[in-house]
Amino acid sequence: MSVIPAIRVTGLTKQFGSTTAVDHVDLEIAAGEFFSMLGPSGSGKTTVLRLIAGFEQPTGGTVELFGQDVTGKAPFDRDVNTVFQDYALFPHMSVLDNVAYGLRVRGVPRTERRDRAMRALAAVRLDQFAGRKPSQLSGGQRQRVALARATVVEPKVLLLDEPLGALDLKLREQMQVELKQIQRDLGITFIFVTHDQEEALTMSDRIAVFHDGRIEQLGTPRDLYERPASRFVADFVGTSNLFDADLSESLIGRRGEHSIRPEKLTVSAEPPSGAQMRSASGSLVESIYVGSGIRQVIDLDAGPRVTVLERNDRSRIADQERGGRVHVSWHEDDVVALIPPGA
């Protein structure tokens, strides 16, 4: 790569006692990218973030920041800033002092740091709360203060550790949009850790899916969703109907493991006709109205239970009785072959 990446992580390994939290991770994140690290808890994503921030020292491997090796450097010597999961606002300081802290540490004169802090607060629409203590703010407001505090020092890379985890759904969706806008406005690299696949898919340029301390798959949201490379990714990112090798052979007519997304399946009373369409018969177990669509659970005669998600207007057999005979059909192109890890 001719362009120097914002972050390059090589062979990064971290062991806590006998457990390996991060296992030889290699990663390159381009400047200005919104990069997400997605995975269940204990998958090593947060540890990678903390290794990049410098809160932990790696057992092996290196961390480079814009081509400069920062492995072994203290957090205060790294040009990255972090938005913490619990926000980590200083409870004894006012909102303004919290935001100005990084500037104060850097010796910025009083009036200038006040102005800059106020501007950062204004950017997150909290300038009228400058005099308050963090305890007097709501969760969403605190989150924005944390963001202002981390961005006011103009880092090259901003690390966000599940920053929206503590917010309720409505606020979270709102903040997702805001974060994305702020990232675009500032033009800096965001590394975003989350266990919420939807959040990751919504916001990210690229996503690394972590599993057991390794990167299971790395790609754009579309890649991950449409072409999950493994059973784990297919299952963790969205929901999938998984078929093992034997079922794939009999139902789909292909070798190896495969998956099909619920929304790629169609339920009909009669077997479909058309090129490249395949189907299997089964009986309806449950039909659930979920607002934007209808989720139907069907036991295929061949064995597996599959989930089908259909839009409301197309659910012609929404009134089908439980236990009724149905056909589940799909297009050949929507079948995704899963590559086992390491293959």
Partner: protein
């Protein structure tokens, strides 16, 4: 549906709770929180009132009495003689200053020692090490005060371990005296200073330290600007222990203090040997006044606001 099909007598209905007196009073209390609170607090408040307030008041009152030097009986007529004597007597001024100096020195030493130890325990040590250290800090509290004081007497003696350790480098044990008193008291009260500071540090989330470091704060700056303000009330709590315990001590100075005496010794002598309870009470008021002054000072700094 099931109730209609079950034949009567197969399942007995759950009997309604009996209207016992206990139940009625519970029901009354449940709906009258103020009465409940009042009953709950009566006993402790009574004890607080009797044991603390009345005892203090009695001390003050006793200080205003005098002893009839002829009959030895306490004369319950008001007089400020004892107070005047204690305030103006050069002996009391000297001993008060000495006691205050010792208490301050002990407090400063203890805080200086406790801060790094507590910080290591709370923020650096592994959970296992943390437990071991906590036990190590608490362990001296299991031993008798006298045993520890006599141990220091042995350590500080002319043929003690300290002399043996430092004499090859030309040093000498301070021997028995004020320095020995300060050292021994610092040792005795150290756990009482470490524990509140440790507890305070435990309450400071690690992420605050990381946030400070993340924003460019070097360890010193992080300590000054983040840790210290947050644990200041805990430090104050610790200093109240070491300061007030030192102010009132008379045994340690007796064991390792050489020929020196502190306020506690004067109280002890006047109660025991001299049978002059009013004068002893007047002397005992000195540390109380100092402690109240100290608390007032601390209050002004706002350290007690967040307790």
């Amino acid at each position: 549906m099931t109730t209609t099909t079950t034949p009567p007598g197969v399942t007995r209905p759950v009997p309604a709770p009996r209207r016992t007196a206990a139940r009625r009073s519970s029901a009354f209390l449940a709906t009258h929180p103020r009465v409940r609170l009042g009953l709950l607090l009566t006993a402790p408040l009574f004890w607080l009132g009797v044991v603390y307030i009345v005892a203090l008041a009695l001390l003050l009152v006793t200080a205003l009495w005098s002893v009839d030097s002829f009959t030895g009986q306490v004369r319950t007529e008001w007089t400020f003689d004892n107070i005047v004597q204690v305030v103006t007597g050069s002996l009391y001024q000297t001993v008060t200053l000495r006691t205050l100096g010792i208490a301050l020195a002990v407090t400063v030493i203890d805080v200086a020692l406790a801060l790094p130890i507590a910080f290591y325990m709370a923020k650096v040590a592994t959970p296992r090490m943390q437990r071991i250290l906590l036990i190590a800090v608490l362990m001296p509290l299991w031993a008798s005060y006298l045993v520890k004081a006599y141990a220091w007497r042995s350590v500080l003696s002319q043929e003690g371990i300290l002399e043996w350790l430092v004499s090859p480098f030309g040093g000498h044990t301070p021997g028995y005296g004020l320095a020995a008193t300060v050292v021994t008291l610092s040792y005795l009260w150290l756990p009482y200073v470490i524990l509140p500071i440790y507890a305070g540090l435990e309450r400071v989330p690690d992420s605050l330290l990381e946030a400070s470091s993340d924003l460019g704060g070097k360890p010193g700056r992080t300590f000054r600007s983040v840790v210290l303000p947050l644990i200041f009330p805990s430090i104050v709590a610790g200093t109240i222990f070491s300061f007030s315990l030192s102010l009132g001590d008379y045994i340690t100075v007796n064991i390792v203090g050489g020929a020196n005496q502190m306020l506690g010794n004067l109280v002890y002598t006047n109660v025991g040997a001299a049978n002059n309870l009013p004068l002893a009470a007047a002397i005992a008021l000195i540390p109380i006044v100092i402690i109240f002054g100290y608390l007032a000072l601390v209050r002004r700094t706002g350290a007690l606001d967040n307790l």
